[in-house]
Symmetry: C2
Subunit: 415 residues, 2 copies
């Protein structure tokens, strides 16, 4: 890690020359224009000149990532460009504009993917997670093992009173965490304030009866930070401790504003992210993306899971798990990985074995809990049994022999 | 236009069945999960059910937009899905999460591009541009003809005093508008406050001498809305009237926060946008994208130009010009089109003829002014001469016969 520069790794693809393309990007992102201009002295250039510091060739491709009139081959390489910290500073808007945004517009490339961003120590000035892994454990009271989570189902369409009834069931079923669907913010059938007022008494009532405070994450997101803060404050007033944040839908500005003023544990949904990463030759690796959002203050990061219901391959999820739990500047800037999407316990053993055999995670079952043939309580039990099996190096099938809840889940969902 | 629903048009691509994919998207974005759950009654579904309202088949493609293990053909269609306004509301974060974000994650598609978003009247609640076309004319005093603009060159690396000297030249050269490079925010060699203090006296001095107040757009962007507002306030205090906003680098939240409190004319740079639109089978059309940013308050929208130095084809620029000048709810929500990138006047006639023969635009020359062989004053003159030729249906070559500045520009830059 350099202390005086920001190093960004791009996977470049071009029918032309990679070295020339890399040099053009470095120039465009510092002082370049399409024609020579007066005043562009060596001294001026030196103040902000980006430099190509490493080129690692990759096998060329026959097909371009972006359709192209030419015939290829398309040369590929991972290129590291170094930007002086003095020229960029520590503002995320400057970082994105200088090192990312403009690169996507450069002529003559058929592919560009931001692989990683290596930030110098000066960037530790950002707040990072307020709660992270440790705080999430303290707030839920789950000091070891996975934090078992669920989401209201049906995810949309319930009136506040109907949602409250589902939450009562989930609390009684024994979950540690419940969340609004990311698509639920403040629709007319479930206005935000009414929902908070209907749900928080259920959480508190359960706490009084059992001593267990289930963490409930409300969908406080709004593109208007003032509205989002009102939502935040309402949750705080009613004794809540968490929020679902649709990070891409509020943007860096929304997140920075919220984090400075937040008392809630921020559970990030990266809805919309897929378009930036789904094509392997374009956009951005999650490794780069998640660093920015962790620095901004994400406490818990949704990253899909093994055999997710979405497009993302398992290997990508496994890498994401490592990414969010790898320190940027310190252990405290790690986010709690939230394993989710199509999860019902059947993926627990594989998840455990492929993610470094850690139990520091949130495991979120929606349909896998609500849709369990013996009911939600058995759905939660099945998931806990599956994680016990993982921890004890027992197969799910073996565990299921003495655990009917897991057996029923396997019978219903195992391929 | 519906009054009770939001209609989004997606260009879908799949090796499977388009109708089935469209139905899956509509279901996923309302109540769907991967397994049936209790409580998902018809009544609950009806509150938020999205419906497929139109499918327009397109010719299938042999190659997938996203690499795919299969062999195709890849079926394609434009699909309109209707979302109840009651389920989404009027928050941009909800719109993006429900109708855009999740769609990009759906399994089984090899391409998805958001073509358009049709918003009902309730969305007219958003502030929209504070100045727009009319306000930009009033503030610059250019009541007819194109607003001639420039940017400091070299775009980066100048000390505030050096930048001020360049600006003095540009003012004397006769431009109506000058801007910071979008990559210039507050680097250590040109801290924001020092830059404002060095530049505004030049603008004011020129105004006092000539009566003409050149509009200067400062790069106030920050991922932290509090910092951005401090920058905004500083510009206001020093008598400035405009700002460059890197819209993607601040996000919806940053923009919404700023617009509510802003007294500046907001000049949008869409740096970073390219990755969302460059692959024709993926991401988003500018038509959809720019609507959101105009509703948020963009006054002036950079949209490249004919023969831009970036990847964007001319046809795409022409469509963008139409997009930003087409009312969403009223004429007042149109943004001033900013024609830029590699412009030097040589594109004026073609620009005029391909964009509806209007002069309601800003025409921005950087290198085309600074790099003019006879100096910046002649660069500005050449551009004005080129636009006069366009307006009068005279060819550039004919006009150049009696205008040496244009003749010199043609000699240097005409292919």
């Amino acid at each position: 890690m350099s202390t005086t520069s920001i190093n960004v790794t791009y996977r470049l693809e071009t029918s032309g020359n990679i070295e020339a393309l890399a040099a053009k990007i470095a120039s465009d992102q510092s002082t370049g224009t399409f024609t020579a201009v007066p005043g562009e002295t060596a001294e001026v250039q030196a103040r902000c000149a980006a430099t190509v510091v490493k080129i690692t060739p990759l096998a060329p491709s026959d097909t371009p990532s972006i359709p192209d009139a030419g015939t290829g081959p398309y040369n590929r390489a991972d290129v590291v460009i170094s930007y002086p910290l003095d020229a960029v500073g520590t503002d995320i808007a400057a970082l994105m504009t200088i090192t990312i945004g403009g690169v996507f517009a450069v002529r003559g490339l058929t592919g560009v993917r931001v692989m990683d961003i290596d930030l110098p120590d000066a960037w530790a000035c950002h707040p990072g997670p307020q709660f992270g892994i440790k705080g999430s454990r303290q707030l839920t009271g789950v000091m070891q093992g996975p934090i078992i989570a669920s989401i209201i189902k049906p995810s949309l369409g319930l009136l506040p009173s109907e949602a409250a009834a589902v939450i009562k069931q989930l609390c009684e079923a024994g979950v540690d965490f419940i969340k609004d669907d990311e698509k639920l913010m403040s629709p007319s059938y479930s206005p935000f304030e009414e929902r908070v007022k209907a749900i928080m008494p259920v959480i508190k009532d359960h706490e009084q009866k059992t001593g267990k405070k289930v963490m409930y994450a409300f969908g406080i997101s709004s593109a208007d930070p003032d509205v989002m803060m009102r939502n935040h404050d309402l949750v705080m007033e009613h004794g809540g401790n968490a929020a679902v944040i649709n990070i891409n839908s509020i943007g860096y500005g929304g997140m920075a504003f919220l984090r400075k003023r937040s008392g809630l544990c921020l559970h990030a949904h990266r809805n919309g992210w897929d378009i930036l990463t789904r094509h392997p030759g374009l956009g951005m690796e999650f490794r780069a993306y998640q660093k920015i959002w962790r620095l901004l203050g994400v406490d818990q990061f949704q990253i899909n899971g093994i055999r997710a219901k979405y497009w993302e391959p398992d290997e990508s999820f496994v890498k994401s798990f490592t990414d969010v739990t790898t320190p940027i500047f310190s252990q405290d800037d790690c986010a709690l990985p939230v394993v989710c999407s199509g999860q019902w316990g059947g993926q627990a053993v594989e998840t455990y074995n492929r993610t470094g055999r850690t139990l520091d995670l949130m495991y979120l079952g929606g349909g896998g809990i609500h849709g369990h043939p013996m009911g939600a309580t058995s759905g939660v039990a099945a998931i806990r049994q599956a994680w016990d099996a993982a921890r004890d190096d027992v197969s799910l099938e073996a565990k299921a022999k003495s655990h009917p809840e897991l057996a029923a889940a396997l019978a219903k969902w195992q391929d």
